[in-house]
Symmetry: D3
């Protein structure tokens, strides 16, 4: 299977900094798996209190996104969203790259469905729910009420860009590169890049250049345009940095943090006045939460508050 994925990746030869297999393996093994979080394509760990880490875990296949991955990425974020033990999530990957994008075997399935002699409307009917399901897989990161910090190392190709655009915060290592790959396979990106990327970064000219040409963008340009907000020298420091910010977030009032996430996503899609009305509606309740009192008292006493689960 790995060779099949490899053949689809024209850009792969230029991966700049390939961590040794040993380094990759040690990364994988140091994670302790969490009871109740059992996935085939994902490795779940808990690096600090209230912080969960989701690692894409098909290193032999360059973390290519196969059927199981598309299903599991949605399931894990639904599970984390409902798990009151979790207050922030780090999304990283095991192996030599973040992800090579969609697995070719997935594409073949769709190809079979659309290439036949059936009526065009009937083929469309068959394809529609598949696209919708793919979209829902990544929208699950947005629907998860807890902040998601994506930590990208090495290649992040095609579906990988769609995936991280649905995260809240994006960090990367120095060797990271990003590629909106879809036009190279005759396709317009339809699981989030074209919709979210322009609202994430402040350079529409660059967004279109990337989307139309499928050229690679390296970490420095990604930082400059605002796709990521911090670069780290290597994989280890990247994951530490992501865990650190997630730990900081997890120490705050979960009511405040999760209401902020809801408000930010709402604001992106509405006018400022509608956004103000929405947060006022939320806060007329959230202000009645005990977290406000706890945080205020802690601010007075200079002690660290302890918030109950949410």
């Amino acid at each position: 299977m790995a060779s099949r994925v490899l053949s689809a990746l024209s850009g792969l030869r230029s991966v700049r900094a390939v961590p040794s297999l040993a380094a990759t393996m040690s990364t994988t093994t140091t994670q302790e798996l969490i009871p109740g979080y059992s996935y085939d394509t994902l490795a779940i760990s808990q690096p600090s209190q209230h912080v969960f880490q989701v690692n894409i875990n098909r290193p032999k296949n360059l973390n290519a996104m196969n059927k199981a991955f598309w299903r599991e990425i949605r399931e894990v974020f639904e599970q984390l969203g409902a798990d009151s033990e979790c207050r922030a999530v780090v999304l990283a990957a095991n192996g030599r790259m973040f992800t090579a994008g969609i697995d070719l075997s997935e594409m073949a399935d769709i190809g079979g469905m659309v290439m036949g002699d059936d009526d065009v409307a009937r083929k469309a009917r068959g394809v529609m729910p598949i696209i919708a399901a793919y979209q829902a897989s990544f929208t699950a990161l947005e629907k998860c009420p807890k902040p998601v910090v994506a930590a990208v190392h090495s290649a992040c190709i095609g579906g990988g860009v769609d995936l991280i655009c649905a995260a809240d915060i994006r960090y990367c290592s120095d060797d990271a590169w990003f590629q909106v790959k879809e036009v190279d396979v005759g396709l317009a990106a339809d699981v989030g890049t074209l919709q979210r990327l322009p609202k994430i970064v402040g350079n529409e000219s660059l967004v279109r250049e990337l989307a139309f040409s499928a050229r690679k963008m390296y970490s420095a340009e990604a930082l400059k345009c605002g796709l990521v907000s911090r670069i780290f020298p290597n994989y280890e420091s990247l994951v530490s940095g992501a865990v650190e910010i997630a730990t900081t977030i997890a120490s705050k009032s979960p009511v405040a943090v999760q209401t902020s996430k809801a408000a930010l996503i709402h604001a992106r899609d509405h006018s400022v006045q509608e956004g103000l009305d929405y947060i006022a509606t939320l806060n007329m309740m959230m202000l009645q939460s005990e977290d406000l009192r706890l945080a205020a008292m802690a601010a007075m006493s200079k002690e660290k508050p302890t918030f109950s689960k949410l």
Copy 2:
């Protein structure tokens, strides 16, 4: 009162460049106050023709936002909006920092209201108009038809960020830092930061990092991400720079400038086509104004036009 405010500001010790009290005082005293503009928490001056300057003026309380401030900031921008002598506004602050954010005494009032044993719906009903009033205080900067240039020095915390996000142009001094502080008091920012900040800057990853972690952002990062468009070495050059751009703006046709502000705010909240329709509707009238003729003649004759009041 000042000590109470101080105790709420965990980040205060790290203020990097504190101007001497003398410098602060001289700043305050050089402003001539304007007849008809009498406020307790604000000092109003007129640094150049058609340019008014509003300084937050509770230096002993670190410009914390108390009840009077919330009322007066709205009143002054309504008054300036209606004063045809005014064509541009500079918003700055007296004392050692821009503002420490909301005054804790304000928070205590709301706290008292929400912590009681009353029915949850009835408490919500009591809180709602308070949130709406706070929001209206800062939206007054947007509703003021004249451009507002915020000039931020030293700390700009919590409500301060909400405030400057409603200005048109943001400059800061080298020692400035910004903190979306609300999660630290168990609260999602509800007077504008979450709604306006992502539409102002081009780095959504950074916006969420700031909002979820309450970490400080210093002037250089603020410039890079686009929160401010210029940095000045110190308070004096900052205020001069702000007054200078305001003076330039005040020299232009007020019809053109104010129609541009209206169009930009409308455009932010609508599709491009709706924005085009709106400006066409406005301009079918504004093109009939004498300002067009005056400006065109001035362009021909290379002389500086004089526009009548608006």
Copy 3:
């Protein structure tokens, strides 16, 4: 006519790098004109396969936008949109600058219409269709399904900024400068700058500063704020660079590229969820195109695919 245009351009003396007339002429003459593309104010060439280049071609008038230009710029993009030979467009200019903006003779016409003694409603009725027609001229770049790469050298003033904001990708030479000039002629920009510029760049403070003050912005600042995504040392390298990216784009599946453009423009004006629904609706058909199969096979075989016309 040229002197009249000149007199309108207060900023013209500061043009920093004026190419010699010889250089300008050679630029013009090396373009081979295309049969069926005959325009008075535009020179059309085909620098590479499936790539068309539109040069503004009134060099003696500093490429000021006269009546013919406003009509032809719309016509040419409608023609290119319908020409299946064309897959990407470069928009550049002949002569010493990109454009000096709207021709004063145009302004005079509108001036005559609005300055008379007629009833205000009736004058408005006369002006409205003119504004709408101007807007449609530049919206034609957006409606053209093929990507448009603007290549700006030297001055890009007033209407020039409106024009390039409707392009997909913006490159410039080192000597380029940009000026939202409208307030200087007593006017709010109404053909796209105020609507599109804030959605293109990630610095709203800067956008308002430019719009209210009419100050110039030079190439370095344009790159930093995201108005352009690349700077080239001079005119020749700029045009080569623009043609190169256009050629890359033209080598991709036209179905994929044009669907991506449609999706990006839709996404800008809608919520993320609506954008996802739209691309799903488009792709349930586009996935049935032969381009998907061709691109997939090419990716397998490492050969360059040949797509049929669209």
Copy 4:
């Protein structure tokens, strides 16, 4: 003053059923006025528990809307909105008709402002806040969280139609007639009729006929098209009927009723999905109110519940 109003009303001669002066007077005198509700142009009474009645009270002037009226109608609905004793409002009128519409003296003021020789943009600037204030007067009925039942007898002209379109429920007597009068005074209705009427009734053809021709519509047609939902034989039965439904409404949980009003107004202006999200956000709090428990217990025990004030 009355004669001046009269002269403006071309349709007045066809008033079909003029109640005798005696009848009108008795109506006026039977209302007991409420402490704290003192208005010049409005008479406020409390016909049943938690139900307030606002009667337009300029019978000698045919209830024409003068300056005081425009100010007071807004004030009274803000006062009622904040008065927890009030749970439903009846809006009726004293005298021989509901209202003759805007008072000509008001029109004269605006006329003076717009007819001068001032610059068109500057006159527009003067007019804008006046229109906005008029609009806010009637939008106050919508912003009042308690349901408003309009009870219309005889003529309801011009501004009267704008007014009742902002109510929640509309009843009328058999002799009522309605006239969208604005085009007869050279004006497009700008205080709500053109915006709200089409969303209230189910016959867009009729709405445009009324708006463009200023023809009268009698009660039967008003019922058929859905402008009113019930007709009563005369003034007395109309007011009783309105008070009766208001009393029924006032007996229900105020949390449920006021949340329903908020949701219905929100739904009118949003997609179904956005409306569902909004009510879910409201109800995750409102379900925690004691009213739910009280109402549920009452439903079990078949006893009438008593809700606390809101």
Copy 5:
């Protein structure tokens, strides 16, 4: 050609009241044609001052909509929109029915385009501009600033319903019937019925019944559901009635009437608050028109005002 059209109309046998050929002819001949209004498929007359009448004029072909009709219906409404002599339009039809809908020869053209072996994306690209052009033909009625009164007799099938939904006011004769015919030809209506009909009438259940079943709706039901606002006994009284309301409308201030039309169409597509903002923006100019003064004076003096052209 007529027979071809006939064969496509399954419902034709049930036409209930067929006017004699003589009656039809006399209708046609009594219209005096207007200089400058020369159309093949439309007969233009001027039945009263400032009122123009457009009659569909392919009686031998049952007014089926052929290529020329689609082009001319757009042209005539653009011409009438720009003709200041015209203030209101009546849209009727010559011959035994209003229209049999789209001409089958049109369908055959599209059929040829979509049935070939070409790539699905490329066929779609060919079809798209055709659909858009059809839509623009009927949207021309909405874009025409003058009110359009549709007068429907006998059959109004398929495209006929799309057409009249874009008119402002709809009247019909007693023998009229309406049929949303598209599903019978394997097609979802795409030129306006599905978009406009539900916003015109107040019975969504009925709208879907009509759209999904293609059943006929007779005049009485059309009146009850609000598709038409008046029924007349026969063709002659129908046309007189339509001309009469158009004449009334044409006697009003054209500024007031046309601003009202613009506001109503805007209101349909926006929230109430956005609608209020829009009419305020329009009226700050329109209130400065001489029409307001003329109408006010006329209201005082009881004389009929004369408004200048618009």
Copy 6:
């Protein structure tokens, strides 16, 4: 269980026409159940080709909506949506009434969750997904691509109104009555009535009267206001009538019918122009379906076309 439901229904004594138990039973027994459609609270039958009938089937509990019902109503419409054998659905009910609304046992569960002493924000977090799941149960009718015809007899209370508002077509028997019951249990309706009802009927005054007062509306008023589009004398004729229109719909091109449903739902929530763009995007594909050719040929040959499954 039945008595508990009964006790919650204050209006039950006034049920006007109770079918005998025998009649009800025969209705139930004549339905043949369909393999693969096995539900506890719903009885599924197939009354004619391509038409499925879903009957609420808890007659002993007055069809009160319990946990199983809320789950199954969603599942059955997802199953029918995916079953290409099904082209139209009839939704009716077994027993003496359509439905008594939500089962009190359901309310008790929610009550237990919200009445505890937990933190208000944490209780809200528990309630939110429950409300969202309820909403999704009824939105499933809208998401089902096949038209749904609701056939209502006798009482349709509370959740019953929410349910039928999500259907496409509503018919009722003469004895039907409707009650927006929620305010009687201290609750604003949050599963669709407040959002959909005002967009379905043309009488906003009536909608608010019903929602605020919880009064019953009988069949005649439901027809007049447009909630239902046809009344039948009794249960048998009602179900026949519903099956008949469903059978007609099922005989049409499924591509045309289902595209029409999608377009109508989209149009409700968007502007007319956006609706036109959407149907054009859909139809550039759907026009390529074989259904268009089959329907066109059938129209020519006067024979009934046979469409393949969708």
